[in-house]
Amino acid sequence: MKLVALKPGKRTLLLALGALGFIAAFVWLLTTRGPLAPVGVEIARVTRTDLSPAVYGIGTVEARRAYAVGPTQAGRLLQVWVDQGDRVRAGQLLAEIDPVDLLQRGEAAASAAARARQTAQAAQAQVAEAASRVRLAQANHARYQALAKQGFVAQEMADSRRNEAAAAEAALAAARANASGAQRDISRAEAESRGIQQVSNNLKLLSPIDGVVTAREAEPGTTVVAGQAVLRLVDPGQLWVRARVDQARAQGVTVGQVADIVLRSAPGTAMPGKVARIELQSDAVTEERIIDVAFDPPPAQLYLAELAEVTIRLPGARNVLAVPRAALAQFKGQTGVWQVVDGRARFQPVQPGVQTAEQVQIVSGLSAGDNLVVYSARQLDDGVRVSEQRLTPQ
């Protein structure tokens, strides 16, 4: 059909319709895709719901108490009797330090003690001897005193016998003092011997607890210094997760709350646990609070320093106004949500409350059933035209 064959009126009409159709398509394109298009937003409503917030942290499996067994003075390791993974009992001999000359010093002390006993015996014999001399001198003294009184001997002889008696008594006292001194010598020598025995015991490293050896850090022949750990022990029944929780999110955590623990080696299984302790000393550099979460019940096998994720369940809020967390936005320094008013976006400041992963409580600013913008195709500004559409792909 040739255009020129048509009547002029019809022709003009056709051309006009064609031009109009094109302009309509053009305008449609500009208003839906171009710069004049309104911003697509997805709307949701404020609902009343129960919120059960949780606090999340990551940490490592650690022992409540860690024991490092080592010598109190420098020495050379003689023997190590246990290895990593061995179960030990309290008091069990774990390792020995080389005593060097301690054995010989012990023998010397024992000999000194024996000698002291014999010296004491000799002193005792001397006491007996002095006692017998005293008896003789005293008898002489009494005899001569009687004789002198009757005038049969000179006074000088009686005096000298009295002198002998006194001297013999003094000698007895001296011998007795010697004897008790010799006894003291025995105690001293024995104490020295016991002291060397104690030092020798100190060189034996005993286990402080019933537990498991986690590290054997020095081998026989190594020189160890005072305070260096030779073996490390833990009590396997006292393992927990030492979790770090961001301080900004740690509010509301108390001892006794139920928690889920996920180990890195078993990422699909959540093990039950309980908050055992919240450490008073937080980490100032990383701004984290340290929370110890115990396994409840303790599992059969745990590995120290394994990474674990902890989710502590906080007491929830019942029947509160809540909106999706994606709806919270910041505008001009305020927290709030965007609402659609007469086809335009308006910012409504709100006060948020308890937060879970998906939702946040609205304390004030909105009422139940209000509409609000959850997702937007572009950054919203006050007063931009918006149109409701479905943004999330199904």
């Binding site: 171009g34 936005a329 937060q355 195709a377 999330t392």
Partner: protein, 397 residues
């Protein structure tokens, strides 16, 4: 007074419309090229706009976290938060790397930020914001990731919990937002082999691994695997605070370089994308000149193709003015059709480009005026040629 242009077009409607379509595609290509240029400049600015920080504090004497590497301590924000006028502070870290997902590897910029503080995405198109302190991510829709996907960055797997749109780095790479501590670890912590080797090197160093001091080696190894550095600190100021004055104060007394938002835009546009922008700008100019030349040539040829008809018109006594009006109207009509077809086509195919194409109305308006001017000038040339035609040619002379 008959309208010669209308009748002439009506007689040759198909070829007229096809010529208009051809011109339109050419104009569309030029508009798209202008859109590519504008899109590149917008890419450089979009992150600054979305993050909405008034001051960027970076390592001293460096050009900020994007143009040059910058490393500042992560507790610097405490000193800055105390300055008068500062409303909010936020640590951020940026790392461009390849991430692979389901066999496809693509270049993304991994951004670390603290939820609730400046530095994160300002709106979402799906999912929810990051709730936990570790191992969650918000991705830009251009990465092709969906909510619930797991993506591996360095040593850990991150679950994508939310999607955003139009969050790209200045180079056009889509962004992936993860918690700051994870980003610090990704940027500064090496892989296991490197860590083990570093430990062995330290253990072999007699100055550190002394026999009488068993604790020193452990302490030094712990320092090596910890990182407390970020790339920049963002500040949002109270309304009415002078950003320039505060930036100067920070630079002078804290001795860290501080850029206002205008400075950052200047750095990104004038320094980071300058060469690429000039490249495209030059091509755009050449394309515009060539398009103008082709438009002029087409109109001129179209007129010359009607020599016989114009000669006949002159023979039957048509005034010069009428003929000139016909040529001018046809040329302008062609220009108008070409422009609208071009704008239509450019708007239709712009979203298909891998990088952002920004078609501004100002550019479209300028293109419209330019098209009409070129068509008018070309028609003037054609009119001059037409008026010189000898009417005798109509009868084969």
């Amino acid at each position: 007074m008959i309208n010669l242009a209308g009748r002439d077009i009506a007689h040759h409607l198909k070829s007229y419309l096809l010529t208009g379509l051809g011109l339109g595609l050419l104009i569309g290509v030029t508009l798209t090229m202008a859109g590519v240029y504008r899109g590149m400049v917008d890419d450089a600015k979009v992150l600054l706009r979305a993050v909405d920080a008034d001051i960027w504090v970076v390592q001293q004497n460096t050009l900020g976290p994007f143009a040059e590497p910058s490393s500042v301590p992560d507790d610097l924000y405490r000193a800055l938060a105390g300055l008068a006028g500062v409303a909010q502070t936020g640590n951020v870290s940026y790392l461009t790397m390849q991430v692979s997902h389901q066999g496809k590897s693509q270049r993304v910029m991994v951004a670390g930020y603290e939820p609730g503080k400046p530095g994160g995405p300002s709106f979402l198109v799906a999912g929810r914001p990051i709730a936990r302190a570790h191992y969650e991510a918000v991705a830009d829709a251009k990465t092709g990731l969906e909510v619930g996907d797991r993506v591996r960055i360095r040593r850990n797997d991150y679950t994508v919990v939310g999607l955003t749109r139009r969050m790209v780095s200045s180079g056009g790479d889509p962004m992936l937002f993860i918690p700051l501590k994870d980003a610090q670890e990704a940027q500064f912590l090496k892989d296991n082999d490197a860590i083990v080797e570093d430990r062995q090197r330290l253990a072999a160093n007699p100055a550190i691994n002394r026999p009488g001091q068993p604790g020193v080696l452990d302490a030094v190894q712990a320092i090596q695997t910890s990182s407390h550095k970020v790339n920049a600190v963002l500040l949002r100021l109270h309304p009415g605070t002078d950003a320039r004055a505060l930036a100067t104060t920070i630079a002078r007394w804290q001795r860290f370089t501080a850029y206002t938002r205008a400075d950052m835009e200047d750095i990104l546009i004038a320094k980071l994308i300058a060469t690429a922008a000039r490249q495209i700008g030059l091509f755009l100019m050449i394309l515009a000149v060539v398009s103008a030349a082709i438009v002029a040539f087409i109109i001129y040829t179209m007129t010359l193709g009607k020599i016989k008809e114009i000669a006949v018109l002159k023979l039957i006594g048509t005034r010069d003015r009428t003929i000139a009006a016909m040529i001018m109207q046809e040329a302008l009509g062609l220009g108008i059709i070409g422009f609208f077809v071009g704008k239509f086509a450019a708007t239709l195919w712009a979203p298909a480009f891998p990088k952002y194409v920004l078609l501004e109305t100002g550019d479209a308006g300028r293109a419209f005026v330019l098209t009409l001017v070129v068509c008018a000038l070309a028609s003037l040339l054609a009119i001059r040629a037409a008026l010189k035609i000898d009417p005798a040619e109509a009868i084969g002379g």
